[in-house]
């Protein structure tokens, strides 16, 4: 190897080094994996979906432009049923999946509780199971025969056996139950980490002022948990509107009376079972808009868009 090439090699290595170590370039290099995967796996499909929603899709290579006809077809009772189910489901989730984890995390954050690490993992374990696996057990627990577990328990308080997956509110109940059982632990962990960032001094000075634990909870804990609560709220709303698995495990092939029909499930049925990709795309884009609008309203009302002082 001649001395000249060695010098050149060193120069080249120097350039690469300078490039990678430069303060201007490094951030871009570091975020590039995310940006690239976002572009390839999210932005491109989204644009394609918007395009497909204005077409009758015969196969992926042949499409026929039909304007907004797919969107006008959305004006039907099944889509409204799906929106209603999703909205009620999300509301119930918001009312349960925030207070319950907060209460649990406050209890499990108390140093007086014995074996709290054990309980923390106990509450967290359900979230490690998949919806499908958990759903199979839940389907059996909520069977409609009198000797199914939940009906059997109800018989002790004198309640007649319920057809859980054939009536509206029982159907809603079993879907929320499954979701609640699975996600409580995760949200509890979020709140626990939020709790640990609250300075101990605040509680001490409240003690000196003579505040009891209820007062401390409402005047210190809750307000300081606001960022975590907002984050969880966003997640719950998003998860609520895109819910699919909880419905799928109870009604695998079809959902009588649209009981388990959610927007995502409607996409699945129209696009894949009935081979109507164009209509499925239109539903998907509408879902995206609904979730965006709700999130923007919510973030705005909590003042997240205001400039920091």
């Amino acid at each position: 190897m001649s001395s000249r090439t060695i010098v050149e090699d060193k120069k080249l290595a120097g350039t690469v080094k300078r490039f990678l170590y430069s303060q201007k370039v490094a951030p871009y290099v570091l975020v590039s994996p995310f940006i690239i995967s976002f572009l390839i796996f999210f932005l491109v499909p989204t644009i394609q979906t918007i395009n497909m929603s204005f077409h009758k899709v015969i196969s992926l290579n042949s499409m026929e432009f039909i304007g907004i006809k797919n969107y006008t077809r959305l004006w039907n009772v099944h889509f409204f049923n799906a929106i209603r189910t999703n909205t009620i489901y999300t509301l119930i989730c918001v009312c349960t999946m925030i207070p319950i984890p907060i209460i649990l995390s406050v209890i499990l954050n108390d140093k007086l509780i014995r074996g709290r690490n054990f309980y923390r993992s106990v509450f967290f374990i359900p979230s490690l199971t998949s919806v499908i696996v958990a759903g199979v057990s839940f389907r059996l627990i909520f069977g409609s025969l009198p000797n199914a577990l939940f009906n059997w328990l109800l018989s002790f308080v004198g309640v007649e056996p319920v057809s859980w997956n054939m009536e509206y509110w029982p159907a809603m109940f079993i879907m929320v139950c499954l979701a609640l059982w699975r996600v409580t632990g995760v949200y509890m962990i979020y709140f626990l980490s939020g709790l640990q960032s609250i300075p101990e001094e605040l509680y001490e000075s409240a003690d000196i002022d003579g505040a009891d634990s209820v007062k401390k909870f409402f005047h210190i804990t809750l307000p300081l948990l606001k960022p975590t609560t907002l984050y969880v709220l966003t997640l719950v709303i998003f998860e609520g509107y895109r819910m699919f698995g909880e419905s799928y495990v109870y009604w695998e092939e079809n959902t009588p009376g649209d009981l388990g029909l959610t927007i995502t499930r409607y996409i699945y049925m129209e696009a894949f079972r009935k081979n109507d990709m164009g209509f499925g795309s239109a539903i998907g884009i509408t879902l995206l808009c609904i979730v965006m609008i709700i999130n923007v309203i919510q973030l705005k009302s909590f003042g997240l868009f205001r400039k920091e002082d």
Binding site: M166, P256, R273
Partner: protein, 431 residues
């Protein structure tokens, strides 16, 4: 410094290796006796039981054209969507695939990506219940081969019927069948028949038996026809007014709860296709020997003796590397007399090729079903088993009957005529 470059080079090779793996071009040794690899998708483990011996058989008969078949089994609905996407995107489809009849119409739209099978079907067409090819055909071309007839029959729990003094052989009209239901309810206080409140049986076979259907021969919506309204009102009367019918738990005959419900003798009669025999044998062991199979009752001499409901069409995709061979193999697996005998002996399906129905294997009395020769009864029905019409709207029509029509009529107690009218209008708006 040198080490770093080597490391980088290694990374490049690694990446290149991964990407090359995506290409996956395999060159098979043609001409040699290397077996041709064929992939085969299924949505039911049971079907493997009769395909595997068929493949062994092929390799023995045609040593010059050996094959090596790999099966992949997916859940029903998932497989339907997976195959649809593979065919639409032009890559990833298997050579041969089972397709549920409920989704088959999806595959017959636009540019059809399945191979026409007329070359193997036409020579033996007259040996088959012909309506079973019509389900998988479009414009005179057959794209799928049937697995069973799915002739609808009535399954009676004879022990329960005898105890209530009901002679199942006398129930040849719907009138007598209903009277038996009333008597049974009055005597035992239990329900006579189980029906699906979240699915489409016995509604579908009962309308097809009388000449009704969801779609007509040209695929137009006829869901709100007089016959359909009459039949739906009849079932509604059983369920909501006279009360001798009960909704099966879970709303369908396919749920675990329904199996245990029937198994524990809660109902005495069930109207289902012949393929439901395998469910009895596999999931309801306690009523073994007590279940007897009889033809459907009729409302008059113009009614058919049965109706062929449900099905699996098996197709060759155009993505197959050797379409001709795949078609030949498929014909061997589904059209030969031996294959049809296997449908019965290995999976308890009523084979669509009727000239095997009197073969000794099929004439063996069945222990589960009262030691009777089930196929003697089926032979009497042979020429009178119509199948429903299938068209572009088939999947949508079935969905709307399962999700809306049955639920609104039976559970929400709405007027059958109005429910069917609304459902038909909704379907027509999709045309």
């Amino acid at each position: 410094m040198g080490k770093k470059w080597i490391a980088m080079l290694l990374v490049v090779f690694l990446l290149a290796g991964i990407l090359a793996g995506c290409g996956g071009g395999t060159t098979s040794g043609k001409g040699s006796k290397e077996p041709t690899k064929l992939s085969f998708w299924l949505f039911n483990e049971v079907h493997k039981q009769f395909y595997e011996p068929g493949i062994e058989d092929w390799n023995k008969q045609y040593p010059d054209k050996p094959i090596d078949v790999t099966f992949e089994i997916y859940p029903n609905q998932e497989m339907g969507s997976k195959l649809l996407i593979a065919l639409q995107s032009g890559t990833g489809a298997p050579d041969i695939s089972d397709i549920n009849i409920n989704y088959f119409s999806n595959f017959l739209q636009g540019d059809i990506q399945l191979a026409p099978l007329n070359s193997v079907v036409d020579p033996i067409r007259d040996k088959f219940i012909e309506s079973r090819f019509d389900c998988y055909s479009k414009d005179g071309k057959v794209y799928g081969l049937p697995t069973h007839v799915g002739a609808t029959v009535v399954y009676y729990n004879k022990e329960l019927c005898d105890a209530a003094g009901i002679d199942i052989d006398s129930l040849d009209t719907w009138e007598k069948f209903e009277q038996a239901g009333r008597d049974y309810l009055a005597k035992t206080g239990k329900k006579w028949i189980g029906i699906e409140t979240g699915n489409q049986r016995p509604f579908w076979p009962m309308i097809v038996q009388r000449g009704g259907d969801y779609l007509d021969k040209d695929g137009n919506v006829v869901l709100d026809s007089e016959i359909n309204i009459e039949v739906l009102s009849q079932i509604n009367r059983w369920y909501n007014e006279e009360g001798f019918a009960v909704g099966l738990p879970g709303g369908s005959t396919a749920t675990e709860e329904a199996f245990s419900f029937i198994n524990s003798g809660e109902i005495a009669a069930l109207i289902m296709p012949m393929w439901y025999m395998s469910r009895f044998i596999n999931y309801m062991p306690d009523i073994k020997g007590k279940v007897y199979i009889r033809p459907m009752p009729r409302s008059g001499p113009n009614d058919a003796l049965s109706a062929g409901i449900g099905g699996t069409g098996t197709s060759v995709t155009l993505q197959s590397k050797d379409v001709d061979l795949a078609v030949e193999v498929l014909a061997h697996l589904k059209l030969t007399p031996e294959a049809n005998i296997r449908f019965w002996t290995d999976a308890a399906f009523d084979p669509p090729r009727w000239d095997v129905w009197d073969k000794p294997e099929l004439q063996k009395p069945d222990e589960y079903f009262g030691n009777e020769k089930v196929f003697n009864m089926l032979l009497q029905l042979k020429d009178n088993i119509p199948s429903p019409n299938y068209g572009d709207l088939s999947s949508s029509a079935q969905d709307i009957v399962m999700n809306t029509v049955m639920y609104q009529t039976l559970v929400e107690k709405q007027d059958p005529a109005t429910v069917l009218k609304n459902a038909a209008d909704e379907l027509r708006s999709k045309q």
